[in-house]
Each structure stands twice: as structure tokens, then as C-alpha cells.
């Protein structure tokens, strides 16, 4: 069976809509509805591993919640899990989003959603800088070790300073360079950016969204009666 190819916007919209629906809809209906919907989507997209992991986590949480009715000391923890469990299907879809699409594809779909340019740029920089920071910290840690400067909890402030000061200076220099590089490539042009990805909104994308929303409305009307 061919795997379902979705426009990332569909997943983003579902993830924005789903949690906010708890305000309007019957909780137990929505819980089951989301589980079924996310399961179908994950399997159709071929994200079997993500499905398995989220299903296991979900079942584990369900087990603890059931256990709490006979074993009272974990009641408050179980209550916390009840809330957390509701978001597990959404997490499954987010993992699928992160695994299936590169950051550039995500950004280009954010662009089509008419999210302000500054926000898109901020997201790009963040995505790019997490690995950069990790690398810079590794260099600094190594050079501290080489110079025989230990990171010790006995002198936390001093140690922290040794760790952070070089990083801050690196950050300042790198951010200036990266901004200059973006500017000479016309990042701030006041026109609608295009994208080299074929990120069209297809019939299947619309169908999935319509089905999802129809299910929500159906549930709303059913329980309103």
C-alpha cells in the first residue's frame, strides 16, 4: 500500500485544533476520537515505529491510571497522567511531523500559512542554533579539561562563568555573521517568498482535514442533544 503523503500544514492544523477542542467537546469522546484518528494517520503515513512507541506509552499510562483506583497512594500522579495522556496522540503526530519533514519544508509551509516573516526567521535561527550551541559547548568543555579547569559544584558560580563567558562571545560573533549572510541574500525583501518544494495542498490533504473537522462537529452535535 502506498504511504500517505501529507502537506505538513494538515498535521500542524490538527495539532493546533485538537487540544483546544477539549473546551467545547465531551472529553471522553474527544479522547477516543483523537486516538483513532492519530492511529489511522500514523499507520497510513507509514510511521509504524512512532505508532508503536506512542501506543505503548499510552497503554502504560492507561495501566497506571487503572491501577490507581485500587492503589490509592498514586492517585495524584494518576490524575496528572490523565491530563498528559490526552496529549499523547498529538505528540505522536508531532514526532511524525519532525521525522518526515526537514526544517526547510516546515518553514516553507509556515510561510504559506501567512505567519509573519520575523517569526519564521526566528524559528529558522532557533532550529539552526540548537546544534551549533551543542557543538560550541563541547569545544569549551574539552578545552576546560585540557587546561585542567574542572567544572565543579564546589565553586558553581566560577565554573559556570568559565563555561558561559566564551559561549556568549562566540554567540555574539556568530549571530552577527549569520545575520549579515542572510541580508546579502535578500532575507528582508518585502515580497512573498517562494519555495522550491512542491508543497501543494492536494485533495487528500483537504479530505483529511474535512474528515477531522466533520468528526469534531459530529461529536459536538451528538453530545449536545
Amino acid at each position: 500500500m502506498p504511504k500517505l503523503q501529507l502537506n505538513p500544514i494538515v498535521l500542524i492544523v490538527i495539532n493546533i485544533l485538537a487540544p483546544s477542542m477539549y473546551i467545547f467537546l465531551n472529553g471522553s469522546f474527544l479522547k477516543i476520537y483523537l486516538v483513532i484518528f492519530a492511529t489511522v494517520l500514523l499507520l497510513a503515513m507509514g510511521c509504524y515505529k512512532i505508532f508503536l512507541i506512542t501506543a505503548l506509552v499510552y497503554a502504560g499510562m492507561e495501566g497506571i491510571i487503572m491501577l490507581s483506583s485500587i492503589f490509592h497512594p498514586i492517585e495524584s500522579f494518576a490524575l496528572f497522567l490523565v491530563v498528559l495522556q490526552q496529549s499523547v496522540p498529538c505528540f505522536g503526530l508531532v514526532f511524525a511531523l519532525m521525522k518526515k519533514y526537514s526544517s526547510a519544508e516546515l518553514l516553507s509551509s509556515l510561510e504559506t500559512m501567512r505567519i509573519p516573516r520575523t517569526l519564521v526567521v526566528a524559528v529558522t535561527i532557533t532550529l539552526k542554533y540548537i546544534p551549533t550551541f551543542a557543538r560550541e559547548f563541547k569545544y569549551i568543555r574539552e578545552s576546560m579539561r585540557l587546561r585542567g579547569i574542572p567544572f565543579t559544584l564546589r565553586r558553581p558560580v566560577k565554573s559556570f562563568q568559565y563555561f558561559v563567558v566564551p559561549q556568549l562571545f562566540r554567540c555574539a560573533a556568530l549571530s552577527e555573521e549569520v545575520t549579515a549572510a542572510g541580508l546579502v541574500k535578500g532575507i528582508d525583501a518585502p515580497i512573498k517568498r517562494t519555495s522550491y518544494f512542491e508543497q501543494k495542498f492536494r485533495f487528500t490533504d483537504a479530505l483529511i482535514l474535512v474528515l477531522f473537522i466533520a468528526g469534531l462537529i459530529g461529536g459536538f452535535l451528538w453530545y449536545k442533544k
Binding site: 526544517s103 526547510a104 576546560m144 579547569i149 549569520v178 525583501a189
Partner: protein, 496 residues
Amino acid sequence: MIELKNVTFEYGSAEGAAGGIGETVSNGSLKNINLKINEGEFVLLTGGSGCGKTTILRLINGLIPNFFEGKLEGSVTVDGFDVSHAELYDTAKSVSTVFQNPRSQFFNVDTTSELAFACENQGMAESEILQRIDKTVSELHLEPLMNRSLFDLSGGQKQKIACASVAVTGNKIILLDEPSANLDLKTIDELASLLKKWKAEGKTIIVAEHRISYLWDLADRTVVLKDGQIVRELSREQMDKISEEELHALGLRSARHPELVSGSHSQEMLKQVQHDSGDTTCFLTLQNFRYKYRNGYLALNIPQMQIPVGKITAITGNNGDGKTTLLNCLCGLGRRSKGTLLYQGKTYNRRGRQKLIFLVMQDVNHQLFTESVLDEVLISQSDANEDEARRILATLDLEAFADRHPQSLSGGQKQRVAVASAIASGRDIMLFDEPTSGLDYTHMLQIGEILRSLKDQGKTGIVVTHDRELIKECCDCEICLHDFNQINPAEGGKDA
């Protein structure tokens, strides 16, 4: 045509300044520059650090005064279009820039997006962008680099992507700011052939560079700057005639490739050293040095290698020959590094080596931690001794900066602070990772002098470098890592 008419510029703040406090180099400002560059011309801008060559590029691509602020007089026009009063995104449609640092000139996280980026910003149609990318990729043979994370590429590969992203825009004017600073000789050759191709296509190329030998046969004209002024313009004929001595007098590096010291030559040299001394205690002996990545890739496999004690040894090789991995293994970084070091009759394992060897990193910013230069030296000493620390600083001409913040110094001064801490730590063996990358002739000589003085103090220096001039200047012998590193491709690098 590009024209700078009576241009005088002074940076508004410390940014852009190349020289540190108290250094005699100027800070990149320009004084009354008049320069005309014709369409299709290849111009080399050169001169010492802070002479203003980067400033000229920033004026042409509009970063000055739009991003780097300051006091600007005179006019800068590109094809009659006043770039200093234009928006940057308009200038970006005709002028492209390749920067020095391959790590920070990308805005995206993967290669293909980076190639598309400039065109996307211009609102070009998808099909057009894809067509341009395909054309560039096949012309520059970049197929293996496509759709990869930029974080997984080497410096040379990143610089190729940077050049390709410029090619995709199809712009007629290409500026390059020290593009070779982080590249090995092989990659520099590739860069030179790309520039040759661009030149043949009629593009206007302006390169600001210290390392001029790879450009010397390509450029139509060389402009030499000093303290923000044009001190000499060399036409093609003059470039052919000028002697090395004249170039050095202008503070420039060699224009012709310095004679290569061959691998066999270095072996001879090593034997000579061994013969002279008659015993093996005057060697650092590396035994079974190995490093394997987590994915099983064997990056280093040196059954045995000897490095003379009390000498300066250059370690050369192309990217991927394992130079940086060897340095890391030598200093005992990385848990997966294996091997022992024999030094003065003692065997040092990985942990032991951490206290024996000091590494001056390529980016010294990673190893300066404290609030003052003096503190930097004091924390390196086993027992803090201020008099001794000041004496060490004096030997490196750093006495005047004792109370300064290390990060306020220039690159060369920071390097000397790192050397000062190395001396203070009392370690006998000092490693240098590309100490002259991006340095001009004068500063290269200065590093050579420091290395020689370390040798006079009885230290052993090991320098990983691509810089032939530095090797000529101060190294006693050269080890080409390619001859020693036995990564057997037949075994797929996966042997145990």
C-alpha cells in the same frame, strides 16, 4: 562597472575592527579610496589585517552602511546604481558574497535549502529555482552533497556549498572574503578552478585574501591596501614581474607556491634527526593510535609514528587524513581514542596525556575563560605565582595587556595569551591547530617567531597546518599524515 569615488569610511563602533587594543594595525576604516572595477574583471584585494579590504567588499554588497554603521563619505556605485543608499535586498539581486567562515554563513540547516535560499527570497518561481539548482549541482559536481545537513559537512564542503549558492543566483558580480582561510591545499585548488570557470563566464570577481598564491595566475589586477589606503596597484604585467622580496616588503605573502616538502623528504629528515642523536629518547613515540567513530568508522590508525622532541614538527595532509583527530587523540580527548605515547622513557595513556600536552585550538575563543589576561595565566599555573605570570606575559609582549579582558584583544593577541597559559602550565609539548589560518604575512611571521622561541625554551611543538610559508619559516620537519594513517578502505574502516 563598480566604482568607489572618494570613499572614506570609519566604523561607528568596535564591530568590524580587526585590530585589538594597543595594536598598531588599523581597524579596517578607509581613507579616500578611488577604485574602478570593470565588468568581467578579476581583482585581488590584499594587504595586512585591518587594512580595509573586507570593508571595501562590505561597501560593494551594501552591508556598509546598512548593517555595519559608521561615517561614510563619497559614493559607491554598481552599474550606476548607488548601493550605499539602496536596500540590501535590491543589491542582492546583482551582487553575491562568499564569506570567510564556513560555519556561520548559512541560514538554513540543509544544503539544498541553502542553494534555493537567495532565489526564494527574490520570489522566483519553483520550477525556475529547481532548474537553476540542478544546473549548478551538475556543473559543480555537488550531487553527493545534496539534501544533507550542513552540520555534517567538512569546512571544504561547506565552502563549496557557499560558492554554489552564489552560482545559483546567476549574479554577475561575485565577492569573496578570504574564502580559503579554512581550506586545505586540495580544496583551494578546486576553489581556484571554480574561480577560473566564473572568470571565463565573464563574471566580475573581487577576492579579498591574504593567501594570494592560488589567485596570482587568475587575477587581472591586484590592489594592495595599507591602513585604509591603496598603496599599490599591480597590473597583470607588473604581477608577472614582481619579485617575492618586493611582495614581502609590501607585507604580502608569497605569490608563487612555496616549494613542497615531499613525504620522502620528511622521512629523510626524521632519519637524520634520529641519526644525529643516536638514541630514541629524543622522540615522542606514538603507538597504536586509533580512533573509531560511534558508527564504526575508523578515522585514525597509526601503528607507530615518531615525532622529534625539542623541535617544531609540521603535520600536514588533506582534509579527511585525520589531522584534527590525531591532535585530539594526542591530548587525550575523546573516550574512543586508543593508543599510548612514549616520552622520556615513560608511557602515557589517554588521561596521562591530558596533563602532559597543551593544545592551542584553531579558534582560541574557546579556550579563554577569565576576566583578565593575567588571570588566564594564573589559573594555568599549578601554584599561582603572579611574578612568574607577569614574566611569561612579558616574553610574549603581553605585559601591557595584563589587566585587559582577553576577549577584547585581537586574534593574534588571543593566540599569544593561549600560548602564555601553555607555558604557565609547565607542559613540555604544545600542539597548534592551524595557527595561521586567516593571518597575514606579518602575523604569520610572528607565529613563526613564537614557535621558534618555544623551541629555544626546550619545548616540543607540533603544528597542524596547511600553510607552506609557516612550515618554511619555522618547522624542522614535516610529517605527511597520509603516509602514516593506515585506514584500510578494503576493510571498510570497520576492523576491530
